[in-house]
Chain length 252, copies 2
Amino acid sequence: MTADGCCTALIRKLEHFKELSDQDKELLAKSVARSVEFAAGSDIIKQGDQPDYVHLLVQGWAGRYKLLPEGGRNIMAYLIPGDLCDVNVALLEEMDHSIGALSACNVALIPLAKIRNVMVENRTLAQALWWGTLVDEAVLREWLVTLGSRPAQQRVGHLICEMLIRTEAVGLARGNSFDLPLTQQELADTMGMSLVHMNRTLRGLRSRELITTNGHTVTVENPRALMNFAAFDPLYLHQQAHKFRSSLQEVL
Amino acid sequence: MTADGCCTALIRKLEHFKELSDQDKELLAKSVARSVEFAAGSDIIKQGDQPDYVHLLVQGWAGRYKLLPEGGRNIMAYLIPGDLCDVNVALLEEMDHSIGALSACNVALIPLAKIRNVMVENRTLAQALWWGTLVDEAVLREWLVTLGSRPAQQRVGHLICEMLIRTEAVGLARGNSFDLPLTQQELADTMGMSLVHMNRTLRGLRSRELITTNGHTVTVENPRALMNFAAFDPLYLHQQAHKFRSSLQEVL
DNA sequence: CGCTTAGTTGACTCTTCTCAAAAGCAGTGG
DNA sequence: CCACTGCTTTTGAGAAGAGTCAACTAAGCG
């Protein structure tokens, strides 16, 4: 993986907020020190760590999670290529949660000093990176609403809408399909429900013909129908409509 | 309310992260332009707004919320005196949620320019303010875990633990009691449960003798017992133990 | 082919929701 | 001072949603 390749997803994501010049892109690409592979199931960052690098996910899916005293685990966020794991945790004494690779992952390491440098030197990039963390926070709030007040099928439908748009935004969707490299157990840990119930919920969504699945590929035949069903409003992802040049554009 | 008085709670909160010099405190106090009253039930910031000022809550409780398409509302965060409502939303095009006064509130307005100035001029304050927003985010994650994977009584117990520590941190707790100026409906909207179930859940906590209530005052006779029951670990609030000089210190 | 992991299904239990109504409490006007 | 009103809290009862236990099927792999 070249340094350039490392950043394509990130750049593509950031451009949904603001156009970047070639110089901006180069500055980003040059700040990557090296990249590391993580096997599915391994931890990228552990609770209690104080990382020396900012971790940029290049390939694969990862998740923020906490282990529960009763033994299960709760996944609080999904990270996909282009997502930064810990832009700002450097300030805190230690991570209050872990980040685990949900599939095989490739992670680029960016030295803290370089990121700080970017934030100071380049106003556009600084704003774009802050935008990214604010969107992460907005997603967190939306998940809270989802968990608190939507029934199971709509909850999962909402998640699928979100991930379709997010994968689309970094060029990982093909039409209305995207790869969801998660087990039903992991989905259940995310949505706060049991494995059995998740299985039945997915069956429900399939039988309503809102989604189809083929292995770990999810297809949303009619995005508008699913968004409507799940009361999904993409506002919280703060993608600027005028920048959004994907096939989903007409739906949004 | 004098400018000085406006900031005592904020200063007190920030000092759980890092000691502030008199100069730091003065700089904060001087940045307040004026203060505004909000009646219970009114909106401090509405979804879609792009605020000109950063709002600092001085008195009362407020909450971040979203209205649901089905008609209810979901409260995603509580704001208490010393909390900033929107340090960093200035970057986004518009608020993706509203902030409503849950009780009568007094809010200090800080011009964006002044905050930016503080962030640039004063490294200690800048770090302390960032710490505040990171803690807000950590709280959000913890709520997500709570909603996703704890049964009702532990969920509410967890919330009460958190609010006891947070009110304590800004000098609003008396011993193990604090004022919770919310209706059971509002608590239910927060914890993603029905009003009836919230009522029964509170009764359960009372009958377990984990809390007592008197009007809107909640008393936690034995914080350790409640924390244990609710699997509450205060790590996520990122309060530095060495700074924590309250009566709860021995418990933490 | 046997082993392991992931997905599926059934039956039963328990939690939580909804509908409905009563009781407590504060403010208001007669 | 009292009846009236609106809001909040409390309680009951039945229905729906979600969890648990357990077994079975499907798919990948050495």
